[in-house]
């Protein structure tokens, strides 16, 4: 198969990330759906002045405290973050990004979550901008064009694209077709479609034809590199016995 996208190490997968790259990172409120090993590899690789687009800025402490993309902030690799949930819920445990944002070392673009998702989706879809009702009359509206549609004021929002997307999926076939497990999916499929180079971190890489075509969520054309996770991080996961897994092949 000419289209083998498997990369054997995470180091190799992120080796070409240049300084100043814009990177989307799949992420929500915990370790599920976060490309943990790609993030660790990017820290070791050391690219700087990055723009990170993700739901959080890492380390929000909502669930388990673990080494998510907060380490890129700790390692001073980030210039700007576009996020919806950049701060920790508990003031006693601020995210590493918080101090850097307040000190003006990292620029923050704070975005409502639905607007962030749609900006990414539109970036993928070739739609440069759109109007949304969310944010009118709040700080989000500052400096934005407002138009009324169907008797509702709406804000102009611009699409987002990236140089790289780091995504976490459950299984990939060798062509890069991806399926996701449970709420792991979140931002991953839309980010996979919105970047020039998409790198997927997966539990398992299977032969072409082993994934049900009807079940594929991210078509392989959006995925450039796939890397298999080799270590168990010890988070609670029941890959062999959850109720939706036993229905898959």
């Amino acid at each position: 198969m000419a289209l083998n996208k498997i990369v054997s190490t995470f180091e190799e997968a992120v080796a070409d990330v240049p300084d100043g790259a814009v990177i989307m990172i799949g992420n929500f409120a915990g370790p599920g759906g976060t490309p943990y090993f790609l993030i660790q590899a990017l820290k070791r690789q050391g690219a700087k002045h990055l723009t990170i687009i993700a739901n959080t800025a890492g380390g929000t402490g909502l669930t388990l405290d673990y080494e998510d993309h907060k380490i890129l902030f700790e390692n001073n690799q980030v210039k700007k973050v576009i996020a919806t949930f950049p701060f920790s819920a508990s003031p006693s445990k601020p995210t590493p990004a918080e101090g850097q944002i307040l000190a003006g070392e990292v620029e923050l673009e704070l975005v409502p979550q639905g607007t962030l998702a749609e900006r990414i989706r539109c970036g993928a879809a070739g739609i440069p901008a759109f109007y949304t009702p969310t944010g009118y009359g709040t700080v989000v509206a500052k400096g934005k064009d407002t138009r009324w549609f169907n008797d509702r004021p709406c804000l102009l929002e611009y699409a987002l694209t990236a140089d790289y997307a780091f995504v976490r999926a459950y299984k990939a076939d060798k062509m890069g077709n991806l399926i996701y497990r449970g709420t792991q999916r979140q931002f991953n499929p839309i980010m996979a479609m919105a970047a020039k180079i998409t790198i997927a971190e997966v539990d398992e890489i299977v032969e072409v034809g082993d994934l049900e075509p009807e079940c594929i969520i991210t078509p392989g054309i959006f995925v450039n590199r796939i890397v298999k996770v080799k270590e168990d991080l010890g988070f609670p996961r029941h890959l062999e016995r959850t109720f939706w897994v036993r229905r898959q092949r």
Binding site: F28, G32, I120, T134, G182, R185, Q186
Partner: protein, 224 residues
């Protein structure tokens, strides 16, 4: 000091607003407790921002070993129970459901709520920072917005105010306010006091509320 309703009772009262088949999204804080008090015989389809519909309650400590899975969490990152018929989708579709008006009821926490139903709940008080998260899309777009809160802040200041003094989540969005002292409807003519907590008088509730309350003709005691 007179007794106020505990957080669980606020959640219990909020659960009475749910109806059979409702698609419901619960915010962080007191609202997450609502899923434990769904009235008998009512089926609710829970929605979460991170892309799931139709999942079950948050798992208990005893269920942790057996059921906790990082790939099945709600918007607060809590582990939830899998149920037959639940489904998963990506974030853009999840907010399509919110923005598109498919969420019947959202129940959100409150820092301040105004006479007109303006909601402020995202900026951490005193920290100068905050997370907008998914709450703004919910407050703007859900069919019904219910705000749950203690009636006054920790230092005794009213949280139901004439005008919000902290950054808004959404203007004129709240339909119903449920507190540890009262149930208040946001109506065109202003705030209507519908129910008061056992042992509290209308005057006492009014004294802890900035805007003037209209008293509902069918005013009653809060029943759980």
């Amino acid at each position: 000091m007179k007794e106020r309703l505990p957080r669980e009772a606020i959640a219990m009262r909020a659960a009475k607003e749910l109806f059979n088949g409702a698609i419901v999204n619960l915010g962080i804080g007191i609202p997450t407790l609502v899923s434990s008090f769904i009235p008998e015989g009512i089926d609710i389809v829970f929605h979460t921002q991170n892309g799931a519909l139709g999942f079950g309650p948050v798992i208990t400590a005893e269920e942790f070993e057996e059921k906790a899975d990082i790939d099945l969490v709600n918007a607060s990152g809590q582990y939830v129970t899998p149920l037959p018929g639940m489904c998963f989708f990506h974030h853009a579709d999840s907010f399509l459901m919110i923005r598109g008006g498919y969420i019947d009821i959202t129940i959100l926490g409150v820092l301040q709520v105004s006479e007109k139903g303006d909601l402020a709940n995202w900026m951490f008080p005193g920290r100068g920072v905050g997370n907008i998260g998914g709450g703004m899309d919910l407050a703007f777009n859900a069919k019904k917005v219910i705000g749950l809160t203690e009636h006054v802040s920790k230092n005794g200041k009213p949280k139901i105010v004439n005008q919000c003094t902290i950054p808004l989540t959404a203007p004129e969005c709240v339909d119903l306010i449920i507190t540890d002292l009262a149930v208040i409807k946001v109506a065109r003519e202003g705030l209507v006091l519908k129910e008061v907590a056992p042992g509290w008088t209308v005057e006492e509730v009014q004294s802890l509320t900035e805007p003037r309350l209209t008293i509902a003709s069918d005013l009653k005691e809060i029943e759980l």
